[in-house]
Symmetry: C2
């Protein structure tokens, strides 16, 4: 291992072979390994994943990698927040044993040509607004799963569609890993935690509340007996349209498994919303009804 | 394990989880595992892969799976030869420990949506003639590599482009496996061994010789000092055109790594040929000059 982390700082590894060897060392000792893939700029949402992993697995590893393949050419790859020292400090004392911080050109060397696609589920919503986004996501997730043969990987429900797409990939490719999706962690006023919240001006920060308000509104309307999914989505859109400086991308109710847009609420549903607040694109969601994002994959 | 193979017959496993468990049992004992993926209808080419695996690895596993995803809608998936009993007999006494024979709907269950693509290298030659073919190939190979965490996988050079595409996928996804590509095994008269040779009528069997003759011609011309790759390819095409009942698809000289068509022979090259002999599409190739299909991937 390369960089010894004193003072409870997790150990940092930058080379995939070394990383794999480190994890295999534990597996040879039959220690369960939990993996928390992140793009850094860690917040309480990420830390909830680390905490769950540390509570369920003997070893916890995290990755910090701002994955260029999941950003569109006009997106915020260049300015995405990068705070490695701060992130390592946040991981101090969390039970994180290793942090994998690969270089971009080690993950995508010259001549790199291999991409994974999850058809269907990747096309709508975030996929429609961010062409190629999920291709980049599942490709890097698969690569990380190859680099670290973990037993369980942890993702946040904030990226709802991402978790569904990854779940499908894991099932389809029969990857020997379980996927756990943990609830959204929110600020006290309801804003979903996101590394991109750091982009928000004080005014935008206030306006951004309308996203969480819109998915809560959807849940409340269903709770009150409304079954017309289109009417609920219209109410979400009206709420967002009433907020200056917020440009709606989509607001919808979908089937939790297929992500197909619902016309009627006849079972569990997910309210999805995406909007641009000032220059910052944010997403949020809420699962409505009795639905659990199940774990998938083979256990080794 | 399900079906006990008496009389040196290899043990047959049909369930991926059981298969994985069987292999992990060996890996826990630090036994090297070699994997030979096949579509069955085994011939001496396949058996050369098995023999090499048995000589290099403590354990040898083979897969027999006619992969629907790599066949086009107008191709020969339905009539592709399937002879499981005969195949198991051919594996008798070869040192094959396990044979994985999955059901098609276990590999591609309803809702299956995940595919791998190797861009660039998959586009030309076989990829141009068989759209989606390599997507199906690398997807199933990745799935098999997930099912059996082998140390070394063996492929035949007869499918030259396939081996280059798989090599690229393994490097790009950082799969923890080595790829070995073994020489083409030929009939005494030069015909490259292929399960599809069984389709050939006696007349077509005779005509099919022109494929191996054409790649040998290319090698001979280079040996005689010809450096104009287009002139050599023209000579290959003329030879094939002179054979009634053989319809050329492509004949070319390419860079062994990039598969880019060459204009000049300035280093190693590969002569590639594809043609339809009667109703049967066949391919052949010959590496010209000093080039070794290197092994790739991480060793665990």
């Amino acid at each position: 291992m390369t960089e010894q982390g004193g003072n409870d700082l997790p150990e940092v590894v930058r080379d995939a072979g070394e990383w794999r060897a480190g994890v295999r060392r534990w597996q040879a000792a039959v220690e369960t390994v939990g993996l928390v893939p992140t793009m850094g700029a860690l917040h309480a949402g990420h830390l909830s994943l680390v905490a769950r992993s540390a509570s369920e697995c003997r070893r916890t590893v995290a990755t910090i990698f701002v994955n260029p393949a999941q950003f569109g050419p006009a997106e915020d790859f260049d300015r995405y927040p990068r705070h490695l020292d701060g992130d390592l400090n946040k991981l101090r004392g969390t039970g994180t044993d290793l942090v994998f911080v690969p270089a971009a050109d080690a993950m995508y060397p010259p001549g790199y040509a291999t991409y994974v696609e999850v058809e269907g589920l990747s096309r709508q919503w975030e996929g429609a607004s961010r062409p190629g986004h999920f291709r980049g996501v599942v490709t890097i997730v698969l690569k990380l799963f190859q680099s670290v043969p973990a037993d369980i990987a942890y993702f946040g429900q904030k990226d709802y569609q991402q978790s569904i797409v990854i779940r499908r990939m894991v099932a389809d490719l029969q990857l020997p890993i379980e996927i756990r999706v943990l609830p959204i962690v929110r600020e006290p006023d309801g804003l979903a935690m996101s590394s991109r919240n750091a982009y928000l001006s004080p005014d935008d920060r206030r306006r951004a509340l309308v996203l969480s308000q819109s998915v809560r509104l959807a849940a409340r309307l269903v709770g009150e007996g409304e079954r017309d999914a289109r009417r609920i989505a219209d109410r979400m859109r009206e709420l967002i349209a009433s907020t200056d400086g917020v440009a709606l991308d989509y607001a919808t109710l979908v089937d939790p498994d297929t992500l197909a847009e619902l016309t009627e609420i006849a079972g569990p549903a997910v309210a999805l919303v995406a909007a641009r607040v000032g220059a910052t694109r944010l997403i949020d969601n809420e699962v409505i009804g009795d639905y659990r994002l199940q774990t998938t994959g083979y256990r080794k």
